[in-house]
Amino acid sequence: MSERSGIMGCAERAVPLCCRSRSGEWLLCLLLFWSSLAAAEQPSKTAEQWLQQLAPALNRTSYKGVFVYTRGNDVNSMRIYHRYRDGHVRERLVQLDGANGEIIRDDNRVVCIYPNKGQVQLDNVIPAGPFAEAFANQLTPVTRWYTPTLLREDRIAGYPAVGIELKAKDKDRYSYRLWLEKNTGLLVRSEVVGVRGHTLERFQFTDLTFTDNIPDSELEAKPGNRTIQREDIRQPDASPHRTEWSMGWKPAGFVAAAAPVSARNEAVAYSDGLASFSVFVEPLKGVDMPSGVSRIGATTAYLRKIRRNNTTFLITVVGEVPPLTARRVANGIELGH
């Protein structure tokens, strides 16, 4: 588009000079003909090129709307306000069904507002490791682990969208179908597909407006929610002691993507550019959690307990990966002495 504008701009600027002679007119016509031919022959984007837009568009586009998230028979509608301004992301999600909860995000700071318990601020999380830089530079080799195929164009929430199927090349991860809005590349619909082809979860905008005009008031929680102390909310262990652990196995392509700012080393997130999982390694205190696997839509939580030096540790792997993958990751965790 910008190239086309550029060509037309040159032609317009050339018109007064060319119009002084007949040969100039012919030259102008020839230039316009060539430029139109060049525009017509410009190949459409490949799936890989569209995927390169995915991550930046999610953060750097300002929009508001309503999306629906479904898994199985569960449906949740959420209103979202997302503003990118001066390099900062502010986001507010409002639950529209059931309890009236909210999630407020200010860059890496996240506050959850529960209808009954008030506000809870989560630990700051920072993108970590080589993955973060690779992701920002659009070098993440997503297509190394997934086979991309362009689907037919569709219309989502009133906008034309490009569909991309990403079929997992191994059974360590799920497949995806993504739809990106054509102008911005914003993800407007996604489906996570299980190994046997069943759709495990869907996310889709039903109402969407691209706008830079999102006032601060729309990014703030509505007044009236009771603010409570963090200690009132049961959190995974907040022990100040650093837990030493190492990962014996992880699926190919997954690299460290994020970690809490705290130095307790209790959690690290890994991603292959599409799927992600988090590993939590913490001393088991207070609540005795069972061992086993729980699945909610595309999300798997695998819990394993290890006893070391008279202390029981709970290893929890949570992510959008098959249960076997989560179990293998959890079983590969080794605690330091």
């Binding site: 949740n76 639950q95 973060a132 996310f203 696997v293 729980s294 999300t299």
Partner: protein, 197 residues
């Protein structure tokens, strides 16, 4: 649009509204808001049932309005394809009202409702009869023979459920910020977290 109208629209989507209610909706002046609600409900239904929405892009409102006003439309609307695929044997008045409503509001969404794909119901094993559906382990090719113990949310006590929800929420945070997944990560856990808190 008031709550009562929203309820009627919702009932119409389920083909459960009575004739008087449908007439009331048809007499409303705020068509745009009803359009949005109608479309939203149908999109939700389409998502739930994994169905195609072949008429979703067709805006026939102008033709229907012309017909209502007594003018002849440019082309005859092909209704049979719409009516024959409705999943229920709807009462005649309800069917007419539904079609009229769908066309009048300018949406074909929902015109080709069908039940969920065969086998789709197998995806979800009831956990607590409500908001927490636990997927069967065997969907991902790693079946119960793998020896994994399946933890159902319903089997956990409130403290355990709260702890697991906290892990899910923290993962959502990692996923959204570090994994570049935006709002999708939080959408995954929002309802669980809120219901359990």
């Amino acid at each position: 649009m008031d709550e009562r109208l929203k309820e009627i629209l919702s009932a119409m989507v389920d083909d459960e509204a009575d004739e008087l209610s449908v007439r009331r909706v048809l007499q409303q002046g705020d068509v745009e808001e009803m359009q949005r609600s109608w479309q939203h409900w149908h999109q939700v239904r389409a998502l739930l049932r994994d169905e195609e929405r072949p008429f979703a892009k067709v805006d026939v409102s102008a033709a229907v309005r012309a017909q209502i006003d007594g003018a002849q439309p440019q082309r005859r609307l092909r209704l049979p394809a719409v009516t024959k695929v409705l999943p229920r044997q709807a009462r005649p008045w309800a069917l007419t009202a539904m079609v009229a409503m769908a066309l009048g509001l300018g949406f074909g969404a929902g015109s080709q409702w069908r039940h969920a794909l065969p086998g789709a119901a197998d995806l979800v094993a009831s956990a607590d009869g409500g908001s927490h559906s636990i997927m069967r382990v065997d969907d991902s090719g790693d079946n119960a023979a793998s020896g994994m113990t399946n933890i159902s949310m319903a089997q956990l006590d409130p403290a355990q459920r709260e702890q697991l929800s906290a892990y899910l929420l923290r993962h959502a945070q990692h996923s959204s910020i570090g994994g570049g997944r935006g709002a999708v990560g939080f959408a995954r856990v929002a309802s669980i977290s809120y219901d359990d808190q």
